[in-house]
Symmetry: D4
Subunit: 218 residues, 8 copies
């Protein structure tokens, strides 16, 4: 039955729970977080959380809040138990809020994360300086706005799965992230897939899932 599925998922995903903060009041967030904490003693990840909500929740719970990505974490970030490393790369500095949402998500779900920020194609030598990280990653999260070329360039270099995150960073004909989204969907490099615009959480969660896939059972 479905209830069983749910338990199964609980076990598999380990010690973390997540609250999507957008559109919830600070009181709602606190109440949900408290219920989670009491019941299961897990780490609780809160995404899209306003500073105001963070202050309110922080008064009652042990909350670490990241201003940039507007992410809150109640409890300890667990020791990494994934198979390899997750690289989180961005094209520019303005993509960093989305990148931190991805990186913190991956950490909360038990992954070692290597951050490569501002390595976009207009200054590709910065990307080249980190080629070792890219070649040794188990999964890469490539985050870019504007023309979104970073995903294709990384995808052309690396042999591991690349999760592309278009961001809404830019102006004019980027139409709220559409330009990067279409660019990434049309990448001619193989091994790339795409999540929603600005969806750092989704990318970090999927990267963690892939990084926790175990090998053959012999």
């Amino acid at each position: 039955g479905f209830a069983k599925l749910d338990t199964h998922r609980g076990i598999r995903q380990g010690m973390a729970e997540v609250i999507y903060g957008a559109g919830k009041t600070k009181e709602q967030i606190l109440k949900i977080a408290q219920a989670m904490v009491e019941e299961r003693e897990k780490t609780v990840l809160i995404t899209r959380m306003s500073k105001e909500a963070a202050e309110y929740v922080g008064a009652s719970l042990d909350l670490h809040y990241d201003d940039l990505s507007r992410t809150g974490i109640v409890g300890q970030i667990p020791k990494p138990d994934g198979v390899g490393k997750i690289v989180v790369a961005t094209g520019g500095t303005s993509d960093m809020p989305v990148a931190e949402e991805a990186a913190l998500t991956a950490q909360v779900y038990g992954n070692e994360v290597v951050r490569l920020y501002d390595v976009g194609v207009a200054g590709m030598h910065r990307l080249m300086d980190h080629i070792e990280d890219i070649m040794s990653a188990r999964v890469i999260v490539a985050i870019a706005g504007m023309e979104g070329a970073l995903a294709s360039v990384i995808g052309g270099m690396a042999d591991c799965p690349v999760i592309a995150v278009p961001t809404s960073v830019g102006y004019g004909a980027n139409f709220g992230g559409l330009s990067a989204l279409l660019s990434m969907l049309n990448s001619c490099a193989s091994g790339i897939s795409v999540v929603n615009i600005d969806n750092g959480f989704g990318a970090g969660y999927l990267a963690s899932m892939i990084n926790h896939l175990e090998g053959r059972k012999e």
Copy 2:
């Protein structure tokens, strides 16, 4: 350097080479395929290949051609050497051409594939009949046109990575696959990422990549 990368990729991706047949003449396809076959004795996968090209290439090379997906394979499909099974699921029967492109790609790259076709949400009991396959897959390719809901439903059940492929199947306000594409990008289930509309090859390739990720080296 870059040349090294390329060799590396050759080794990692195993014994298969791919030719994207769209926009190539039958003569071009034959020539490229022959060069590949001679040089490295690999299996050669040819996607988006017309029947006419298949007949032309088949006269000179040992070609297996799949009408439905318009995919050609020169040489033997290798023994599966992936870690687990790849489930390829479709919402309807009209999505089968894209699904076969994905499934054959996965097979050519050395994967065991379980096909679950026509299990869309309008007849969800058919999906339920195969819940064991879904729960035991290592990676799932969820293919659907029209409203694209299949990806969300499967993503809500399964704990493994789900690669969603929107198809251009439908009419009216599906706008060539846009409805399924947007639907899949906006999925509220976690662990889902999306490739381009009708991109069966891309999904099969990425699924294979994930299915060949090895576990911890102890």
Copy 3:
């Protein structure tokens, strides 16, 4: 003539009048509502009403105001006189403002409403827990943002008319509700039709109309 039509409608739709509050000043709303109340002693439904307008109107009239959906009701909600029950279901909690606009509209027009909130496809067992409600509804209002899959899933289960309401809830490639709208229009389940994005009133009104259709006159 047309005047006759109008009277007819008044009778058929029973005791309720509606004011669309968006773009009206609080003074305008009060004036219209007072005229309605005095003239015909009906229940008056005010949609898209700001809190400020509610306070202003509430000072002069007996107003019940619902914060969440920003709906005001002057006078009594009538006893349900519809044929069956209307189920109002949502994919997530963020769809609740639209859902309450639909539910209150249906109640004001004389219907018994069953609310099934947060039963989206990412946690489908919650939907399954309420299958009895779904199977016994006379008409269902299915409200969802993001990928809008709820309408298809409910439409695949139920045998009654399903009115789908896309919401603007989400971010990125949902483009203000477009993703859910297209998804619902392309549903491969039968018996589904769609109203405008966030149009809870329209769905509740139509559901009431269907629920008041009488049977054969023998």
Copy 4:
């Protein structure tokens, strides 16, 4: 369980089965139709069927084929057993293929259908001539391309549910039916809902469902 649902649906929807002909070969259509006919002695409705397929199927089965809407019917159209009448109205003569798909679908599912074709708003007196039909319908299917105004005009007159079907008829800025679709979704008349562009079947099916809703059980 789900199997039960399916049987339930079979019973409720009466004696008709439907095959969506688009993208199916004539051999596939014949095979599916024969299986349906043998197993349950029902009427079989085949939509989006090519003339060629009709000739092929007609050689083996008792098929009535309608050229205009490309609809085939195997077996007898049943006696109407709905509660009232369904009006199918179109704005122009070019909308008739979609209208016939809707009308034949409604007939196959046991409804009496009144056809009001070419009554669009540019010649509204033609619509006025049939006001009795409109006022006495139990449900109306309003079909229009170009500016789609028919649905709003009918919706403003009638007190019954109106199912609007945008068609792809037109040129230039109608963008394959988008103009009529948006127009209908934005109708300021109440009691209107919309199905996909050119989806005559969906409208006819839903109209039948509404027309078979029974009254209060006393």
Copy 5:
């Protein structure tokens, strides 16, 4: 040469000058208006003018300001000298700001204007009550948001030119006026043309131009 053209235009258009207030500071508006007034003693029309700018300009010049349409007029509205009457009709009350921009523009350019507001298709009898005005107009400005059907309905009745103005009034799938715009462009009635969304000035100006066309010179 071009200078001559300009003078010609000045003469032909009579006594009015126009300032497009959007994006101009109150100081800029005052300065331009003063220059116009001093030089030629004309009426000056200021569109898209903020209340704040109106107060500022009103302190120095004899300004009449219309709150609803945010239109200012310096100097006297001239006596009508057009050939016939201009009807300005709206679908709803929310279209009135655009309508007043059109009506005041027409008046400033010397036209008699008949206002028919809130005569949309959902309550068509209100339109019918004014059929005499419509049949005797020399040119009609039809203003509507949402589904924009008003233009088609009026175009189907009247024999004079109809200038359709889509408004951005509405929500959801009206996409800032796109639904009404496409609807009006696709009108199947003859004699209709369209101006930009919310462009009351453009419609009023063109209506005046048509209404000042003189007859045959014998």
Copy 6:
């Protein structure tokens, strides 16, 4: 009543009737045209008529057929009885089919037409050579594809109403006429309105209507 309106229109529009040929069979066109001819002895204009239909109709009726615009005329083009001249201008030679539809329509409705073809803004001196025609026109139809700038340039010169017709001529980012359509709707020149993409008939008809407006009745 409505019937009266219709007669009124017949009288006012003079001696011409129109058949929209798109989507009609040659037999249908002949039948409608014959009925029109017999009943009222008018000129009959047939737009969007295939060559094949023209040959078929021409065998039975006195038909003049224009290949370029695919327009047929049964009967005599009447003597011009409009007040002034209508200028029909195009940006390029590829816009000529639409232009001829407009020009022939205007002629059939009794207008003198001046054709200015291929006077687009990339070679503006050609436009300047005809400035007399432009300054003395009573109404101008400005037809252009690609960037549609012609309408603005002409609108900036002329003092008469300009009816802009975007065409689908072009490629790439013209998106079937969208670029010219948006360009024309956003024209910063006054006195311009727009009809649907490629709608030569609509422009010619409206131009005729304006050109037949009589002056003051003294």
Copy 7:
């Protein structure tokens, strides 16, 4: 290697560095600017800089701030050393913020700039008054919102490269600059290319690059 490239660029582009101010805090901007100033004694250009940031930075550094375009310049504008003159032209006064961003960028990179503002096609004689400037420019930046016709008109006159900048100025169907963008991309004049909506910096930079191209080396 890449580092070498970077130095090369530094030399070639001369003495200027640029900071894209959007999305950066005033503290970040100051810090980056100070680093640049100290290290290399260049002019620093800061685009998209808020007034608040300008005040903050101006307290520590010698900053010239332009309100209109929100551009800051630290240090001296260098003497022009380009080959010819750059003309920056705008259609209207509302395009001036974008134009000043372009013009100041060009000046900072060492160019003589001729400003031709408000010379749009609705008042083309103003453009004609400056034909000498246009004919003698080495490169022209043509900036326009709304219908964007200016680029085509200038492109049709001039023989030098024209860089078109669509602006988001306008309302309604200009959809944030889309109308001007499409118009400019579809220009039928030769020698025109386009940068992103509102991208004054990009146009000024490219114009400078072209204006610094040296002739043949003999």
Copy 8:
């Protein structure tokens, strides 16, 4: 006056004339080409020319026809007289038709062209192999479909102007070249501008214009 402009242009652009073949009959093309040849003895470039037209024209004139780009050249390609070299680069082999239109256009206008085809970002080492060409170009035409990243990568390396040409090559969410177009417009590299989708001619023409700009006159 304008005529003078035209002559000026003739001189400046040298010995070539261009016919845009799309939508012209073979007879029309021959006639125009013959007129050009007779009158001025120039090279005539014919773009978008069908094979059939080429055969027809080739029977009367000395025509060189390029199958791939569907470009015809009557007369001799002149000796290059530009200042430097023009690099024409493509992402894939499928972009070659557009590239050859650009390259042949540039050659016809007197430029030395270096072709770098199939150097897209998915195999970036191929691009690296040609870095000398890129660094020494005077102007680069970067042509790519799908994600269009090539323009950004080249723009990040080179110091010369880059003209980006999006192509319609691809499928699914590339929407006829929209993905590459948006990507290129949003490039974060400086010195890039964009022409219309598939507009090889426009890019080649502009590149030639830039390459013929002479240096300082001392």
